[in-house]
Amino acid sequence: MYSRTFLIAISALGMSPLSGHAQLRVAAAADLEPVLPPILLQFQQATGIRAEATYQASAALTTQIQNGAPFDLFLSADLSYPKRLIDAGLADAAGSPDSSTPITYAKGTLVLWIRKDSQLPPPSLDLLRNPALKHLAIANPERAPYGRAAVAALTSLKLYDNLKPRIVTAENISQAAQFVDSGNADAGLISLTSALTPRLASSGTYFLIPHDLYPSIEQGAVIVSSTTQRAAAHKLLDFLLSPTVQAQLAKSGLTPAK
């Protein structure tokens, strides 16, 4: 794994922190990239523990952890990937009432996003029925939780079969957003966290897809069993679930877990 070589190279260079705690390594789903950095900074100020996150698709992170990537905590964009790791004995939710179920730390929201300068009417469910919609970008439904939610929502609306030839599939949410932001796709079903980033908030507008149209996108966390810093990983998880941080998540487009 590249990441392991990289980490070995970094520690060989003597760049690992010299505090009592070694650095916590967090594997974080790509939709957390706009959300997590300030939270990790607050965590460091509150506890003195430095945490560094790697942002990738949940599926890719799962493969990496399966192959021994040295992460301490895994924040997935869904429940199925962390559950897969628990079932393989590679991760656990120790400390929670049910240690075989990932800990839900937030819920995701799906939005329909278009550019402000688009010729199409403002985003709404009617836009999905508009024949002028030539390309609709979604994330890969086989592995991206928001892609799965997008297909579920289109299926509930009985639009999926009709729209299928016009759907373009991106590797993840941010690439789906790029397809639309670059003007190549007319609209995209992306995460509210992406739509609220300054870049996309300035270039586009969004419509919240009603929650009853797709199964809730519960985002699950697990502790990687091979960690040597279990206590610190638990502290970060508790911090994420604290009311202050949960309120902060809500502002960035994630629904609090409880």
Partner: protein, 222 residues
């Protein structure tokens, strides 16, 4: 096995190779025969696709060829649709992506032709086109073969550009490399191994056939 992805990939690689050789032969001849200092910049530019990460190259093409630029709007007027998410878009992307793999062997091959022959041909009144067709191509046909094979294989294995520009549409932009990547990412390792095995077997067979053919026609020397 997804035969649709295989035929799509072979079609993409063949079209790219033919177009790219037609562009690269005059370009390489210009680089070898030309005297201008600026040609060094042209050669540098023709090598640049090697420097950029393919996904970044794909992203730039997505933006450059999209409806928000004048080039992109001109394409939409001409074709009636944007280049992204279409087979023709992939052809354009592949040509840019594989350009160095066509140009570099040709520059090396043409440059190795004895310049005394070129000077003699020119003294006898041959223009650049005649020099290319009667000297460069016959004397550097191994380089031409190498350029063709490298371009073809590089396009078959192309991933990042297709990922950014394609949109994963079966039959039009889902190439074999995208299919393979999907299989790996979906934890379907058995299917991925089958796809990879078919791809590798076909490649070895095709390459061996080409190399055997070129050996029997006059050995390894061009």
């Amino acid at each position: 096995m997804d035969w649709q992805a295989l035929t799509l990939t072979l079609r993409l690689a063949s079209i790219t190779t033919v177009i790219l050789l037609m562009l690269s032969v005059p370009l390489a001849a210009l680089l070898v025969l030309g005297r201008s200092r600026w040609l060094a910049f042209l050669e540098a530019i023709a090598t640049l696709p090697l420097v950029l990460p393919p996904t970044v190259l794909g992203f730039f093409l997505l933006v450059l060829l999209g409806p928000r630029t004048a080039i992109g709007r001109a394409i939409i007027v001409l074709l009636g649709h944007p280049l992204a998410f279409s087979f023709s878009g992939l052809v354009v992307g592949s040509i840019v992506y594989s350009l160095p793999f066509a140009v570099q062997p040709l520059v090396a091959g043409f440059g190795a032709v004895d310049m005394a022959l070129v000077d003699a041909a020119r003294l006898l009144g041959a223009g650049p086109a005649r020099v290319v067709f009667t000297l460069f191509i016959p004397l550097a046909k191994r380089s031409l073969l190498a350029a063709g094979i490298l371009t073809f294989l590089h396009t078959v294995g192309e991933f990042g550009v297709v990922l950014m520009l394609g949109g994963d549409i079966p039959g039009s932009t889902r190439t074999l490399s995208i299919l393979l990547y999907n299989q790996v990412e979906n934890f379907d390792y058995a299917a991925a191994a089958r796809t990879a095995a078919i791809l590798l077997t076909l490649s070895i067979a095709a390459l061996a056939a080409i190399y055997i053919g070129s050996r029997s026609r006059g050995g390894r020397r061009a």
